[in-house]
Amino acid sequence: MLGAKAEYLLPTDCARRLVAEVQGALDYCAERQRQLEQSLRVSRRLLQGWEPARTPAPEPETKEEAPTPACTPSAQDLKELEFLTQALEKAVRVRKGMSKAGQRDRTSSLISAANAATSGATATAHSQAPSQAGSHASGAKSTKGAQKATVPAKNSPECRLLSRGNRTHVRTGAQATGSGPGLRDQQMVPSAVSQTTELFTLKEKGTLLQLPVAFRKAASQNSRLWAQLSSIQASDSTDATRAAKTQFLHKLQTATGWVGHRPSAAEVETHAQSLRKACTLLRLCMQKELSTAPTDWMQEYRCLLVLEELQTMVGQCLHRIQGLQAAVTEEMPPLCLVEKPTQASAPCGGEMDSSWSPEFLLYSSTKELQTLATLKLRVAMLEQQIHLEKVLMAGLLPLISSQEPGGPRWLALCRAAYSLLCEGGERFLTVLRDDPAD
């Protein structure tokens, strides 16, 4: 059990760099996770039972409500709880501007919800009502008259979807059948008041939903405007405007007395990234070329050409890097370093052909969507992993070769480095002493 000291302390600058890199990656992941979780919460809520106005936070009332330790809440507690719940519900109701509606039986109320939605829609935007909504309406025709009377008058159509009638109604339904499910712990359910069981789920009634007219209008206007924006950009109003902008930029630049171009930090970053990608792609291309055995001399010639062309390209990349480095450290006077106009020197956004309108991404099954999303994430993760691998290589390999081999510190370094660099940190190796005793 007596282990030798297995520590290896990194030199400060190396440590700072490595830890900062990994920490940065960790923070980024955590942020993405947080965002995902937020949107998950929304989606999950949608798939749960749709019941109106239920405050999701359980917390605030815990204190007052906490029953005595004697396990079961006393009658007093129950009463208070009931009042509290009633008060809360009332508050919510008032806030929502919902009026109390009469009692109906459950099924008819659900139909009426749909029906109300449809009839509301037809009233305001008759022409847009989709056909299947109509069929639902006709399906419910027999009771239509009775329902009409109970559908509360609404001033804004978008509030209509969950009518008060439904809500009241289901509550009574639950009251009636409250003692039914044997699984419910009666002690936990002090009164039927708070037994607002779900009205319906998206699964059951989702297809009856209707987007409010005002929203539909705004949304279509929105997409029209974005489309216009795209088209105007494509043509970039006039050449005159473009020229004016270019001229302005030029004047601005010359007024400062700078002739050349100094790369900005953002540019350097951009270049570094593209060069990194270039390096990877070039290497892959080389490997592909080297791994295929040419069958005839034409192919061999083609292969040769590729390799030589790759050499040229690598040379260009290196040249670019040197240029950048020089420009940044100012060993060289400002120069026009990139042959190709890049973003910063592009005079204006005129030549972009991109569109601001969303494109549809069509998927056919959950599985496919999952595969797509996972792959996307995987690719991003692999890129990150490769980046970290390179950072670690640059940090650790020189350390190992610069130290006297043997000794516990060196071994500790080697073991950890092996695990990190060769096994993605997932496995480790054991170093055994080759004892003659064994």
């Binding site: 059990m1 919460r41 359980p58 815990t62 709880l81 359910v189 940190g425 496995r427």
Partner: protein
């Protein structure tokens, strides 16, 4: 997020049942000491994680039962059905006629490949019933043949097939005085294989649980059911819902992920132990009151003195003075019993939980020199009381706690291996001595790595 439990072998199935029963009973208990609404959220959170609902409304455990002989599975199914509260899935069982005969190689190399497809299909069906899968909880013993051998095999297949899902193996560590003669072989084979394919090994020692039954629970004649219930209580105290973070009202969605991220990121340190407090018979409970300060003080001392339960804590053990570099051998004697942690997770449940002060666990002296408390310590909590305790605390610890038992097992297995005893029982199913050597090598490293944590 849901967890799919895989119960393997006699031990795994018996424990799995008690765990589900404990989870269900607690989440439907009236003793949560919280508002009805909160209780419902708690219940829903527990349910999402461990149960699904069938058409008739009876919750069904998200579990797959695997054994190589039918007796235990039949027994487990009928116990669940008799409870009337929850049940196992109708087609969630896989069993054969003949057990693995305490032979790891038989479970791993014969039963495993032979039944891989059927078992993995069952698991996949269960996975498909989850909206979202957080990971797998694999319950098994490491002494026998089916739990250990087949368990190691299945864990590996899960790793292959669900590489991004988490895998936690709940492992029962056999009695030190022996319950299966080849337990040490089976154990080293199991542990070394799981070290490669699992993310975390949550370990319960039969000896420790036995002592808790005797000393804390005051049970005179202790049955396996008693042991398993203590164990289920401990697991429940970890996996029942807790809030996401300080001040949040949302329940944590992926406790398995949170736990692993906090406790087992390093590939050489995957062994976790659970301690919890209070744990006592119902009779004594009626006469006891607890304060958070008291509970946490005891729990901390349990941690640093490697005590497995509240009774008989050695209060002499103290962390080495922090900040000072260890001076030669001066403090060796004192530190001998000090248990150095890599990382700890404290879980608090019950009344006034916001007033609990866990500073004592943030002392850098408790942890290995290379990990600061900010990385090494985390806490979960909820106001909802757990089981029948008004206040309770659990500790999941990645520390040297288990290195001694591991060292013992490796040593004993090595002694047996040196005499070549029982090797023929393994080689007849295609294992080689080389496989044993690989296992020894890996575990010797684990022992050494844990050993080198200390001050």
């Amino acid at each position: 997020m849901s967890i799919v439990t895989v119960q393997l072998g006699q031990c795994g199935n018996q424990i799995g049942f008690e765990v589900f029963d404990a989870l269900f009973r607690d989440s439907h208990s009236s003793q949560g000491l919280c508002s009805k609404r909160e209780n419902e959220t708690y219940q829903a959170s527990c349910k999402e994680r461990f149960f699904r609902e069938e058409e008739n409304g009876v919750p069904v455990a998200r579990a797959v039962l695997v054994d190589m002989e039918p007796k235990v599975i039949n027994q487990t199914l009928s116990k669940a059905a008799q409870s009337g509260r929850w049940k196992y899935g109708q087609h969630a069982c896989f069993c054969q006629r003949q057990g693995s005969g305490n032979n790891w190689a038989y479970g791993y190399a014969v039963h495993g490949p032979k039944h891989e497809e059927s078992i993995m299909n069952l698991i996949q069906k269960e996975v498909e019933k989850c909206d979202s899968l957080s990971g797998f909880f694999i319950v098994m013993s490491m002494a026998g043949g089916t739990g250990s051998g087949l368990g190691a095999f299945i864990t590996q297949k899960l790793q292959d097939q669900y590489s991004s899902s988490l895998k936690m193996n709940q492992i029962i560590w056999p009695y030190g005085t022996g319950e299966v003669i080849v337990q040490n072989y089976n154990s080293i084979l199991t542990l070394s294989h799981l070290y490669r394919s699992s993310d975390a090994l949550l370990i319960h020692e039969n000896d420790a649980v036995h002592k808790i039954c005797a000393k804390q629970m005051n049970i005179k004649q202790i049955s396996f059911r008693d042991l398993n219930q203590v164990l289920a209580h401990q697991l429940g105290s970890v996996f029942q819902p807790t809030y996401c973070e300080d001040g949040s009202l949302h329940y944590r969605r992926n406790p398995l992920g949170d736990l692993m991220e906090h406790l087992v990121p390093h590939p050489e340190f995957k062994m976790l132990g659970i301690r919890n407090i209070p744990q006592m018979s119902e009779n004594s409970l009626a006469y006891s009151t607890f304060t958070w300060a008291g509970l946490l003080k005891h729990l901390r001392q349990m941690l640093i003195s490697s005590a497995k339960m509240e009774e008989g804590i050695d209060w002499q053990v103290q962390p080495p003075p922090s900040g000072l570099p260890p001076l030669g051998k001066v403090s060796v004697h004192k530190d001998l019993h000090f248990n150095t942690s890599i990382a700890n997770l404290v879980i608090l449940r019950g009344k006034d939980v916001q007033s609990a002060d866990v500073e004592g666990f943030k002392d850098p002296a408790l942890y290995t020199s290379w990990l600061e408390p900010v990385h090494a310590f985390s806490m979960w909590k909820t106001q909802r009381a757990f089981d029948k305790y008004e206040k309770s605390a659990a500790l999941v610890s990645n520390s040297q706690l288990l290195v001694k038992p591991l060292d013992m097992i490796v040593g004993k297995a090595w002694n047996m291996f040196a005499s070549k005893a029982y090797i023929h029982q393994y080689t007849k199913f295609g294992m080689e001595e080389e496989d044993f050597l690989d296992s020894f090598t890996l575990l010797e490293q684990v022992v050494a790595s844990y050993g080198s944590l200390g001050p």
